[in-house]
């Protein structure tokens, strides 16, 4: 399997602090991967580097079959080539309706002139309705996103992520603030999505990670400490030492 995303030898320092230290990581085109690690392990910085928010000091990040470097692309350009990101705190446009949020995310040309000429086609309409239904917001299309509950906002954001049709989804703690039933639903959904796309999930909750039943990458002090199945990494003494032992 060729890698969709290849991160190799990446380092980044903030004021002398090495947030990411010679990190290498790769993920295939249809793969689910969980990233765990203690606070300060560099999980968020890692996501920031991939999505173009932070420029690494050294190393390379390449994307796709033609191995395009992501390091010179803007956040928007990286999003357009197919990397979607979900933040830990739900960030939806609270002042706009659920439908408008979804239409904004719907895959379409992103330049201002295209936005001026944009008309919601029958196909787009069906897609918005289907996405909303998929995350249980079918009856709430006309409501403002700001009125939704925390869990519903999380779902809306996931639907927006899917509407972008990304090839790689980076998801930061999807289960935060969700009820048990919602977590189960989220797990099933993530596993389903990963059949056709690459999904990277950053998560603290080990139960949730266990249910994902996928390869796990353990980050520690900005580098990969261990990689493999959850059982494999949890047996790793180094992992127990830095992370699980204290948990």
């Amino acid at each position: 399997m060729t890698a969709l995303l290849e991160v190799s030898g990446v380092s980044v320092s903030f004021d002398g602090f090495r947030a990411i230290n010679n990190l290498s990581f790769s993920i295939g085109a249809a793969e689910l991967r969980a990233i765990i690690g203690p606070n300060g392990a560099g999980k968020t910085t890692f996501m920031d580097i991939i999505t173009g928010k932070t420029r690494p000091d050294s190393g390379s990040v390449t994307w796709g079959e033609r191995a395009i470097s992501l390091l010179n692309l803007s956040e928007a350009a990286i999003a357009r080539i197919g990397i979607g990101r979900k933040f830990q705190r739900p960030t939806v446009f609270e002042d706009q309706t659920v439908a408008e949020n979804l239409i904004l995310a719907l895959k379409s040309p992103r330049n201002p002139f295209a936005a001026l000429a944009f008309v919601l086609t029958g196909e787009g309409r069906a897609r918005v309705a289907a996405l909303a239904a998929q995350v249980g917001l079918g009856a709430h299309l006309a409501r403002k996103a700001g009125e939704l509950s925390h869990g519903q906002k999380q779902w809306l954001e996931i639907a927006m992520l899917l509407a972008q049709e990304p090839r790689l989804l980076l998801i930061d703690e999807p289960a935060a603030g969700m009820t048990l039933a919602e977590r189960e639903q989220t797990t099933a959904m993530l596993v389903g999505i990963a059949r056709t796309r690459a999904v990277v999930v950053v998560e603290h909750d080990m139960e949730f990670v266990r249910r994902l039943n996928c390869r796990v990458t353990v980050l520690h002090e900005g580098a990969v400490l261990a990689e493999g199945s959850l059982d494999h990494v949890t047996r790793n003494p180094a992992v127990i030492e830095v992370y699980l032992g204290r948990g």
Binding site: A76, T91, E94, A139, A142
Partner: protein, 426 residues
């Protein structure tokens, strides 16, 4: 978080199948109707076409007000919708005025010079005409050569093109530099204000080529129409201003009710998130900045022939601050709010400063409105910001029974003054 339903959940079909643009935007129809009634009333009361119930100077005041409304519309798009508090848009307005003023002044002076030279024994040469025009226009700043920037002043179409191009290009260059560096918020406001101030100070110099602090004058006299009285010209300009305002309102309301408006409001509320959706945020900001600068330029080109004179004081940052105050008092994030704010405050301002407002004797001190109007305006701006962030537009929400949730201290979402979405489509 409790799930209080603010407005009844409409069937999903309605939101995805919006019927008719005008039905979704009833405010557009009301606005156009109001403008049409005003235009008819002004025409029928004007000295030129009707009973003369109002004076020519009042027709001009109303026409100028419509131009200010047009500038306020532009400001609302930039600030109310996109969240860029520009304190430089009146500079674009004044530049539009300067561009049309160059032609008006040049062509009119040329007419006068030709008339005076016609008595001579020989027909005047081109050089004599140029010298005559030059000394007429620039004598006041101690020169008689026509500066390079007047190179197109002989031609109306070229100067009209400059009305669009000069503000547009300035906004493009300035916006590109500012947005590219991701300057936002207060820093951007300061930057736009600095641009305005620099431009104003430059134009105050006598060798700027635009007659320094004298500015351009006599703009109310249209070349070739010397025998048409101001009574008629004022009504014609009123019509032109009303038409332009109507067109801009229609166009902008169509733009902001569509996906463009959705992206702009999203940028206002959380631009980083918009970036992660793949939208080139800087491109959108630049687009909005340039388009609204051009709109302001056009508004200025209609305003100054009615005002008759333009000088660099018109570019002072205070003018742009007024523009922001109008939009804030009218209610930002809604087009009609901008128009109402600009019309209401600027008409009130000309009433107070025109010496017609009765002074209030307090015994020991007399409140003279010519001096105290500014204080009142400043206080009302503070009051609106504190207690009525939706401005006058909020009154319309009351009529429609709309009220937005109290969101003090919420980390996300728009500031309290901006419009809530369901109101924006009303």
């Amino acid at each position: 978080m409790t799930e209080t339903t603010q407005n009844p959940v409409t069937a999903p079909a309605n939101i995805l199948h919006p019927s008719g643009y005008l039905r979704r935007n009833p405010s557009v129809l009301w606005f156009l109707l109001g403008l049409a009634v005003l235009t008819l009333a002004v025409t029928l009361l004007s000295p030129a076409y009707g009973g003369g119930g109002i004076s020519t100077s009042f027709v001009k005041t109303l026409g100028k007000t419509l131009c200010l409304c047009l500038a306020a519309l532009a400001m609302d798009i930039v600030w109310g919708y996109t969240g860029i508090l520009s304190l430089g848009h009146m500079a674009f307005f004044a530049l539009g005025g300067y561009m049309i003023g160059q032609w008006l002044m040049y062509a009119r002076t040329q007419e006068i010079v030709l008339q005076s030279l016609v008595a001579g024994p020989l027909p005047p040469t081109a050089e004599e005409i140029a010298q005559g025009v030059g000394s007429q226009i620039f004598g006041v700043v101690g020169g008689s050569d026509i500066p390079l920037i007047w190179g197109f002043a002989h031609s109306l179409p070229l100067q009209l093109a400059l009305v669009v191009l000069v503000p547009g290009l300035l906004a493009l260059i300035f916006g590109w530099l500012a947005f590219r560096s991701r300057v936002t918020g207060v820093y951007l406001s300061i930057l736009t204000q600095a641009m305005t101030l620099a431009l104003s100070l430059y134009l105050f110099q006598n060798d700027s080529g635009l007659r320094g602090n004298n500015g351009l004058s006599g703009l109310q006299n249209l070349p070739g129409l010397a025998d048409v009285s101001q009574d008629f010209l004022s009504v014609w300009f009123f019509w032109a201003s009303a038409l332009m305002l109507a067109l801009a309102y229609l166009l902008l309301s169509a733009v902001v009710s569509g996906k463009m408006g959705s992206v702009l409001r999203a940028i206002r509320d959380d631009e980083a998130r918009v970036r992660f959706l793949g939208y080139p945020v800087e491109g959108y900001k630049l687009f909005v900045f340039v388009v609204t600068a051009i709109l302001c330029g056009i508004a200025g080109a209609l305003y100054y022939p009615q005002a008759g004179i333009i000088n660099p004081a018109e570019l002072a940052p205070i003018a742009s601050i007024y523009l922001a105050v109008w939009v804030a008092i009218g209610g930002r994030g809604r087009l009609y709010g901008a128009v109402i704010g600009a019309a209401f405050v600027s008409l009130l301002s000309s009433w107070f400063t025109g010496g017609r407002a009765p002074s209030i004797p307090l015994g020991v001190y007399t409140i003279d409105w010519v001096d105290w109007w500014q204080v009142l305006l400043g206080l009302s701006f503070v009051a609106v910001t504190l207690w009525a962030p939706k401005g006058i537009g909020g009154v319309f929400d009351r009529f429609q029974g709309l009220h937005s949730p109290d969101r003090k201290g919420q980390p996300l979402g728009p500031d309290a003054g901006s419009l809530q979405e369901s109101e924006a489509v009303e």
